[in-house]
Symmetry: C2
């Protein structure tokens, strides 16, 4: 679109029916993840917690849902030309995985300062990695170049209704298994998971309290939620590397339509919550996935006695660089 | 029993009906743990693996099953006087947990060189800790003293049909969910888990291949399986601290009746398998729980293409002392 065009931003999001459709579409390709409980964490939080374990999902994160939803939405003739995305994290691996399941080519544009392990994972999953300078202009130019050369379809990490529909399927499964939840909390980075969760949860259980959870050191969603505009994320010094992203107008609109509040968590609480989940529940979560529990522990989401669904978003961490190593 | 008595050892074990009865008895007190799969680990092992996640069990180990089975088997008048056991590991925590569920007193005799964290956990769960010198005579004297003072019932960590019945319920659940397994593998220390697994699995699926898995550096079960006598464990230099125990005549008899073979795993393979489970499955397992996968990777249990149930026995590790820290 030419820069002079003042078209309104695309705010379209999936409805509950589209999320149910996505659930059918992705079912052969993703795990139905377990929901775990821990009486010891219930005591810590003063609430009854139901953890939807997307850390146990394919590629170790909920991103497998959105990526397979998008990749398997493409008409055959278009799919054949492949898909492209930009990501230094879980979405890149998820697109590589989804494209592999459909046996189509995939390109993942990554900044040349991304961890080597992430790059290796994407290659192992069969995608082609394109390295670029670590800035938005270089990233967009690299994606555009791949599209020009190959005709590949761009699958944005979160600003895409097909991706949002896929992410919403985790909450759908959680509420199928535990239909009487009072509250559901998801971490918020770009807002794909939170908006999908919000649409799914409010659809199947009107009146349920939906909360976002964000590091206080990357509080752009919190500020955007208050101002009604997409606020830039600014310099971020958070360990929760999956959440260092601004919302899009689309995800902000969906979040403002359904979410009660966005809780903020300190870095210290994030590490404490992360270690607590490892020690008490014996599952590995990455820092971003611990942010909802951190908000409950610090009381920035204060729902004593409630039945709370928590989306554990992912479990991809470097075991040689744990945050409690001294 | 006086040393001069030459009575035959008690070899009684539960049958399948007793294991089913234990399953009903413990159901209100333990998790029905999930069964996880990983296509990436399937490729590593050359088989289809179904992991029964007892690391996600109450107190982080299958021991919660045997302990609640035994504690809830006691008649009320006897239960009221409490239970006592000796353990420096998961069984102590399990007895403390089970006694707490039944609101009866519990004493756990621990060697005075046990990790402080284990002692703290047992106390947190409401049991009284009695420290003793780290040898068998001191341990037995301490248990006998508690029994004299309180009338508490001894619940042995593995040499007890009620405990074995409880441990067998994990395999029962696994085969309910995946009735077409070809093989099931469990780690073997004192043999409570392996004998319970063997009786349950051979009962519900005659002809299934049942294997034990043991560290090569603590190969007493392997040697006992061959000789038909309980061989002492000897000096053990294995990271798999849950498996540094000899069998009893009872568990050896049950194992010889049902088990195909006992695989041995090197220390290196145990650490590799442990880290693989953490990284690919995103669940925390202790070294002992990784021994079955280590046997599959090293081929000492060689079942290519089979559908293999693996009991992940526990997940209690010190996150500040991981075996891959350099």
């Amino acid at each position: 679109m030419p820069e002079s065009a003042a078209a309104a931003p695309d705010l379209s999001v999936p409805d509950l029916a589209a999320i149910r459709e996505a659930a059918r579409r992705i079912a052969p390709h993703v795990h139905r993840t377990p929901v775990l409980t821990s009486s010891s964490l219930d005591r810590e939080a003063g609430a009854r917690l139901f953890f939807k374990c997307e850390n146990l999902q394919k590629i170790g994160a909920f991103k497998a849902r959105g990526a397979t939803s998008a990749v398997f939405s493409l008409p055959e003739a278009i799919a054949r030309r492949g898909v492209v995305t930009h990501s230094s994290g879980n979405h890149g691996a998820a697109i590589a995985y989804a494209a592999g399941r459909r046996a189509i080519p995939a390109w993942v544009v990554m900044p040349n300062n991304a961890p080597r392990s992430k790059e290796a994972q994407v290659r192992r999953l069969g995608a082609t990695v394109r390295l670029c300078e670590p800035n938005v202009a270089a990233r967009e130019a690299a994606c555009a170049e791949v599209q020009r050369e190959s005709g590949a379809s761009l699958v944005h990490p979160f600003d895409d209704p097909r991706v949002i529909a896929g992410q919403g399927t985790a909450a759908l499964e959680l509420l199928e298994e535990h239909p009487d939840l009072d509250v559901v909390i998801a971490p918020v980075g770009g807002g794909g998971l939170l908006s999908g969760t919000a649409i799914a949860a409010s659809g199947v259980r009107p009146g349920i309290g939906i909360f976002g959870a964000e590091p206080a050191n990357a509080d752009d969603a919190f500020r955007s939620f208050a101002s009604g505009r997409v606020e830039p994320v600014g310099p971020t010094l958070t360990i929760a590397d999956g959440l260092r992203t601004s919302l899009s107008p689309r995800t902000l609109a969906a979040i403002r339509a359904h979410v009660v509040a966005i809780g903020l968590a300190s870095e210290e609480a994030i590490v404490t919550a992360m270690r607590m989940i490892w020690e008490r529940m014996k599952v590995i979560v990455e820092p971003s996935a611990a942010v909802p529990l951190a908000c409950l522990l610090e009381g920035t989401v204060n729902v004593p006695g409630a039945r709370v669904g928590v989306i554990l978003s992912g479990g991809n961490v470097d075991l040689d660089a744990l945050p409690w190593r001294t």
